[in-house]
Every structure is written in C-alpha cells, then in structure tokens.
Amino acid sequence: MSEKIKSYPGFRIKTADLREGKVPFEAWRPRVRYAWSAGIAMSRFLEELKNGRIIATYCNKCGRIMVPPRVFCEQCFKPVDGWKYVKDTGTINTYSVSFIAGDASRIKEPIIVAVIDIDGASPGMGILHKIGEINWKEVKFGMKVKAVWKPPEERVGSITDIKYFKPIREETL
C-alpha cells in the first residue's frame, strides 16, 4: 500500500503563522488548580523531613527497607510492617545535567539531578533529587553524597526541605 499511495493527507501549517494569527484558532487557558494530598505514607515522610530525617517503611516478608516509604509492599502485596529511619547519605545511581526548564526554555546555570540510593535502605532504593556544591563535569557514578538541609525554621515538610545533596569529601568522612 505504502508504495501505491501517491499523496498522504495532512495540511501543514507553520508555527509562526499560528503565533501571528495567520491561521485561525480558538485559544484556551485551563483554570484548574490542584491540591494533592500527600497520603498516609508520604505525610509521615514529609513530617520527618521537617525534622531533618529520612524515614522508610519495611516489609518483613521480602525484607526490603523501602524509600520512598509506602503503606503497602507492592511486591508482597501486603501492608508494611513498620517505620524505620534511614541515613541522609547515599550513592549516586545515575545523574543528568539539565540545561532546560520545564517549558523547554533554556537556563543559565545547569541543574544536576540524580537518583540517589539512600544508605540504610535496601540496595537500589533511590530517590530523585538535585546535586549541589560541585561542578557538573566532576560528578561521578557511585559518588557518595549527603543531604544539605534547609535551616529548621525554613522547613515546611516538603522534599525541598532538603536543598540538595552534596558530595562527601575526604575531610568530612
């Protein structure tokens, strides 16, 4: 068929023509606002962040200590057996350096983002966060990092109560 078809449908228009109104359109801006409740596990997690601590939940059946915490073990499909504090240090599992913002516009200072496997949790239990106090070219896989917290009075119970994770240098070990 492909080879027998002479022309394929579709009327191409240019983005500039749309922007300049040369192609008619109806415009709309959604007015919706959301308030996402954190839920059972995440509310406790955020409360602990406010205290400067990272908390996990664990499952006695599979033995996993899970971060971010959840109320049910998705592997064993049973309620978790309890809460457990883990460390605010970890290892860079993977990282990326972002030169763009959410709207795909360009930003001057790149943001280093990483999945950080948290110490004290089961292997591979990572969370997403930023990396700071280091040039992006010097970041390495497997690098040990530690959370840099906002001062207690500025914490609100958000993942951003941790400003970022910074490399653990020799002298701080």
């Binding site: 749309l18 008619p24 415009a27 919706v32 308030a35 996402w36 954190a38």
Partner: protein
Amino acid sequence: MSLEKITDPRRMRHWLGHMETDYRYTLGIAGERFLNEIKENARIMGARCKRCGVIYVPPKMYCEECFEKLEEWIDLGTRGEVYTYTIAYVDMDGNRLAEPVIYALITFGDAYGGLIHKLGEVKPEEVWIGMPVEAVFKPPQERKGSITDIKYFKPAQ
C-alpha cells in the same frame, strides 16, 4: 491510619499546583470554512453527503455514517428553530447571575445536528420548543471567524 472525613485536601499535608498549559485549537478543514462563511458572509452552512444525503451542521469533513468525504456545501440561511433549551441562573463557579442566560440547541430544517448558542431579545418564560429563531451577527468588522461572531439567536419574525 484511620480514615477521617476530610473533604478539602488542603487541610491535610498537600502540595499545591496547576497545569501551566495554554492551548490553540486549529479550526480544522471543515471548521475553518464554516466559521469563515459566518465571518465573511454571515451565513450558516451545512455539508451534504452525496452518498447518504445527510446534511451535517456544523459541517464535517466526512460523513459519520459512510465515511464519504463531504464536498457539497449548502447555505442553510440564518433561521432555525429551538430544539431544546435551558436557562442558566448560576455561572461556572456557582455564583448567581445578575440576568439568567438562555442556552439552546438550534436545528436547521432536516439537517443533522445543530448549533448550541444563546438566545437573546427574549424572556425565559417566552421561549418554547419549536420556536423559530434567527441568528444575530456581530457587525462585520468585529467578526473574527468564531462561533461568537453570532451574538445570539433571537425570535424570528
């Protein structure tokens, strides 16, 4: 882990946000021609399927029944009749409107479909199903190629 009766998530630990999106909807092949006829010629068009004879309003590019491409456009004039209507007393946020607004589905003869629009120059208690109505257009210089180029439909003489 008890379940409380909370209806506003902002009373619990929460994160506020919104979706930062804007939209531009192209009118499409049939839609652009339909709205252009309203803008330029102040007339309401339908599109007729040469295979099943169905006239679609608003016009489509294709027949829903048989998938024939619709190429025959017909001037339906500016008059139709109220097929059904509703009277809105509150706005989208639930606030009381100063004046009620009448919304109607207006049909055009045997054409399939119709237009949703407002009724004007008529009191709610005077509207009836089957009432003949006529489109009131904005002045040509104010028309933009939008369904709102028709201000409303009013009772036809």
